[in-house]
Structures are given as structure tokens and as C-alpha cells.
């Protein structure tokens, strides 16, 4: 039913803006969408965008996860650096792109660097929050039964923090997709969904541009769905804590 309403709304807007041509009719967009998957290389562009997204996210996670845990577990560190994390988290990642371009050797490094920058501070914030917010009572339970410190940290604090850590990872992953495309648009690239969107806009090929937007939406939805399934599997108790 939702799809019917969405399509109907689309057509209403297309008719209303027909003179300007800003919103093409859905059949035209649909034809372009099918054409994208009929040997026009959209899979290669998806792969490049996903590659940048996963590289940037992976780098952010590999440094952000331990950094967030340290910030959450050591109050003195949080006092020192917590404010800086909030500060840098507020800066839109694309703003630092010129700096990255100047510092790094090559556009690809700058693109991945921008994604890493954007994801890193979001991850650190969520991981730190989750670690800091681990249940005091559950920690006391482990202490009462003389659990070793390693057990308390890894089996209680981090397990309790896991739902929030995974939330941060999901949000960062969605952000990584957006930043991957933004980096392709701002810097240009031989392949990538952002590049394709930019090219179709430059050529005023609106049906293709809308078709590409649908592809991006589908990709983002799939990533979200996979994230939900992973979370449900790892932390089925998240809503009941």
C-alpha cells in the first residue's frame, strides 16, 4: 500500500512540475533504472563506492573502537579529550577535504580519509558512551563474586556496552555511504555512484539521475537491513535491558 501511495505521489508531483521537467515521470525513471543494470556498468560503480565506504569505515572502526573504549573506561581521558570529540564530530567531514587533499598523496586517499574522519568521531562518541554507561549493578555483581578484572571488563562492561557500540557502527556505516558519494562528487572519480550522479546532473539527464538515486536508496536500505540482522543476532536483548 505504501508503494502505491509513493508512486501516486511521484506522478502527481511529476504532472505538477511537467513544465519545468524537474521531476520526470516514473516510467521514464524505471526504464533508466533497468538500463543501468543491463550492462551499463552500474555494478562497477556500486563496487567502487562500497569499497571506499568499507575502507573508510573499517579504518575508523579499527582506531575508533579502542579509542572509544579508553575514553569510556578512563574518566581522566574523557575529561581531557571528550570535549574535543564533540567538537570534531560537529564539523562536516567534507569541510576537511581540501586539507586532506593537500596532505595526502592522491585523490583516493583523500576520499577514504574524509570518510574515515567523518565516521571516526561518531564511533568514538557512541563507543565511549556505551562503555561509560555499563550497568554499575552488573559490575558490582561480578565484583561480589570475585570475578577477575579482565572478566569484569570484557564479559560485563563491553558486553553491556555492545548494543550502543553497534548503534554507533550502524550510524557510521550509513554516514560512510553518504560521505563516499560526496567525496566522489567533490573530487571526481573514474568510477562511483557519486560520479555517475554528478555526470547525469551535469548532462541534465534527470531520469538517469533519479534512477541512480533509487539505486543509492536501495543500497542504503540493504546495508541497514544487514545491520539490523547483525544487531538482532548479536544483541537480541538490547531492547529489554
Amino acid at each position: 500500500m505504501g508503494w502505491v501511495v509513493a508512486l501516486a505521489s511521484w506522478e502527481i508531483v511529476a504532472f505538477a512540475t511537467e513544465a519545468s521537467g524537474l521531476v520526470p515521470h516514473f516510467p521514464a525513471v524505471w526504464r533508466e533504472l533497468l538500463g543501468l543494470f543491463e550492462g551499463r556498468g552500474i555494478e562497477i560503480d556500486c563496487a567502487w563506492t562500497l569499497r571506499r565506504m568499507l575502507l573508510g569505515f573499517g579504518l575508523a572502526l579499527s582506531v575508533g573502537l579502542p579509542a572509544g573504549i579508553l575514553l569510556g573506561a578512563i574518566p581522566a581521558l574523557n575529561e581531557l579529550f571528550g570535549g574535543w570529540v564533540s567538537f570534531f564530530r560537529s564539523i562536516p567531514a567534507f569541510v576537511v577535504l581540501p586539507i586532506l587533499l593537500a596532505v595526502m598523496n592522491g585523490g583516493e586517499a583523500a576520499r577514504v580519509g574524509m570518510i574515515t574522519f567523518g565516521c571516526f568521531f561518531v564511533l568514538v562518541a557512541y563507543v565511549a558512551m556505551g562503555t561509560r554507561g555499563a550497568s554499575r549493578l552488573r559490575i558490582d555483581v561480578a565484583r561480589t563474586y570475585h570475578a577477575p578484572r579482565a572478566y569484569v571488563f570484557f564479559q560485563v562492561i563491553l558486553r553491556d556496552a555492545l548494543p550502543q557500540i553497534l548503534d554507533g557502527a550502524r550510524i557510521s556505516l550509513s554516514l560512510a555511504l553518504i560521505l563516499a558519494m560526496v567525496s566522489e562528487i567533490m573530487l571526481g572519480a573514474s568510477h562511483g555512484l557519486g560520479t555517475r550522479v554528478n555526470d547525469s546532473l551535469a548532462g541534465f539527464d534527470l531520469p538517469k539521475m533519479y534512477a541512480l538515486i533509487l539505486v543509492v536508496g536501495l543500497l542504503g536500505s540493504m546495508i541497514n537491513l544487514i545491520g539490523s540482522v547483525v544487531c538482532l543476532r548479536l544483541v537480541p536483548y538490547a531492547d529489554s535491558r
Partner: protein, 265 residues
């Protein structure tokens, strides 16, 4: 039958003071509990009962005074603790039996032994619990029973109970009190529990201790031995006898003896 037990001191608190920030909760508190005693700690809401239990468990430290548990600093004895917030104290990522076996897990007991000991304890208590489920898949009463299993499975020397039976129905609670006193006496456990229900205290305890004042302390009149004509385990039928009512009255009197009536205008 209700005489105060002489012997090795399990818990000795001398001149204990404890504050949280600018709020002093305990001041000049003296408490001594002998090995094998079952003591009920009474007091109004916010009196500091949980604070006393946490100091004994070694979960927080005194600002002044000393606490010793079986002759050592707090936090070293084998303790079982039943918290009031059952759901919040259980680990949601562990199943019921894994939660119950926590004390055995952290000491490195083999999985088979852990399962066996949990099942043995369940048999002794005649309980039937869905141990393979996670806590969020259980009722509040079942979660509290998991907490009780967790506290008792490793046969601790000292059991601390902070309103630990609140989620049980009346019949289950009576049965639990009956079983607990049997377990305590058979295993030589010392028990310190808090409860708002005076009937629970009278049925279970050798002695009632009352926290009074703000900050709280224990006056000499706050110690009441509970006389029961029956040997342990006290039968459930005792709660219907006149001697039970007499003991209840005595505990009630010790609680209310310092209350002042609201002055009339």
C-alpha cells in the same frame, strides 16, 4: 531457641560512618553478627540498609570506622548477594542457568559441574525454572529465583539479601523462607537480610536489628532477639501461633518506640 548465638564473629562493624557527597548516611554505626546467625535489618526507606550491605560486601568503603568479615577486610569472603532489582542484576546475554552459575564460572569450574550444581540446588528447593531461556524471556518472579540460585549455588559463608523476595507471591515467599533457613542452618551460612515485611523478619531471623536516625545508627534498643519455641527449621505453622504474634509485637515495638506523635495545634 531465639537466644543470641555466641561464637566466631562473622561481621563486625565498629563506629562506621559513610557519606555520599554531602549527605551522611551512616554515623557511628556498630553491628556485630555471629557466624551462623540469621539477622534481619530493618529501617525506613532511605535509612541506609543497602549501604550497610554494600559496605559488608566490599562494594564501597567506609569514610570512618572499620568493617571486618570473618576476620578479614570486606570483599574477600565467599558471599552470595541477592539484589532487589533482579532483572537489572542479571546478565541479559546469558541464559538462566549461566546467570545462576556465575559464581562457579568466575572460579573456573567446568561446565558440567556448573550445570550439575545448579540443577542440584533447584532439586533441593523443588523449583522448576526455564533455565535455558534468557532473563528477558522470564517473569519477574522467575528472574528473582535465578538471582537466589546465583547467590546460593556456591554455598557461600555469608548471604546478603536486599529485599530479595519482593517479586514472589505470598505462598512462594513463605516456602522460600522455610527453605532458606534450612539451607542456612545445614551449611552454616550467616544471613543478613533487609525486608519491609516484619512477618518475614520474625519468621526467618534469630535477631532483628533496626537502623534509626538520620544519619543512621543502631541504638541498643534496636537489637531484638526473636524467640521461637520451635527448633530450626521453624515450621510454616508457627506463623499462626500466639508466640509468633508476640515476637512480631516485640519487633514492631522496637521499631516504633522512638516515634513521636504529630503535635496537635
Amino acid at each position: 531457641m531465639g537466644a543470641r548465638k555466641e561464637g566466631v564473629a562473622a561481621i563486625v562493624m565498629r563506629d562506621v560512618s559513610k557519606s555520599y557527597g554531602s549527605v551522611r548516611v551512616l554515623s557511628g554505626l556498630d553491628l556485630q553478627i555471629h557466624k551462623g546467625e540469621i539477622v534481619g535489618l530493618q529501617g525506613e526507606n532511605g535509612a541506609g540498609k543497602s549501604t550497610v550491605l554494600n559496605l559488608i560486601a566490599g562494594l564501597s568503603e567506609v569514610d570512618r570506622g572499620t568493617v571486618s568479615v570473618f576476620g578479614s577486610a570486606p570483599g574477600r569472603a565467599k558471599i552470595g548477594y541477592i539484589w532487589q532489582e533482579a532483572r537489572a542484576s542479571l546478565y541479559p546475554w546469558l541464559s538462566g542457568w549461566e546467570n545462576a552459575a556465575l559464581a562457579l564460572t568466575v572460579t573456573g569450574a567446568a561446565k558440567r559441574e556448573r550445570k550439575q550444581r545448579v540443577e542440584d540446588l533447584m532439586d533441593r528447593l523443588s523449583w522448576d525454572l526455564p533455565l535455558q531461556r534468557k532473563p528477558h524471556q522470564m517473569s519477574g518472579g522467575q528472574q528473582q529465583r535465578i538471582c537466589i540460585l546465583r547467590a546460593l549455588v556456591d554455598e557461600p559463608d555469608l548471604v546478603l539479601i536486599d529485599e530479595g523476595f519482593s517479586d514472589q507471591d505470598r505462598l512462594s515467599k513463605l516456602r522460600l523462607l522455610f527453605d532458606l533457613q534450612g539451607l542456612a542452618k545445614n551449611n552454616g551460612m550467616t544471613v543478613l537480610f533487609t525486608s519491609h515485611a516484619l512477618e518475614e523478619t520474625v519468621f526467618l531471623a534469630d535477631r532483628s536489628v533496626c537502623l534509626r536516625g538520620q544519619p543512621a545508627h543502631i541504638p541498643s534498643s534496636g537489637n531484638v532477639s526473636i524467640s521461637c519455641p520451635h527448633p530450626r527449621p521453624r515450621p510454616l505453622s508457627w506463623s499462626s501461633e500466639p508466640s509468633f504474634d508476640a515476637a512480631l509485637l516485640e519487633v514492631r515495638h522496637s521499631l516504633s518506640s522512638t516515634w513521636e506523635p504529630i503535635p496537635s495545634n
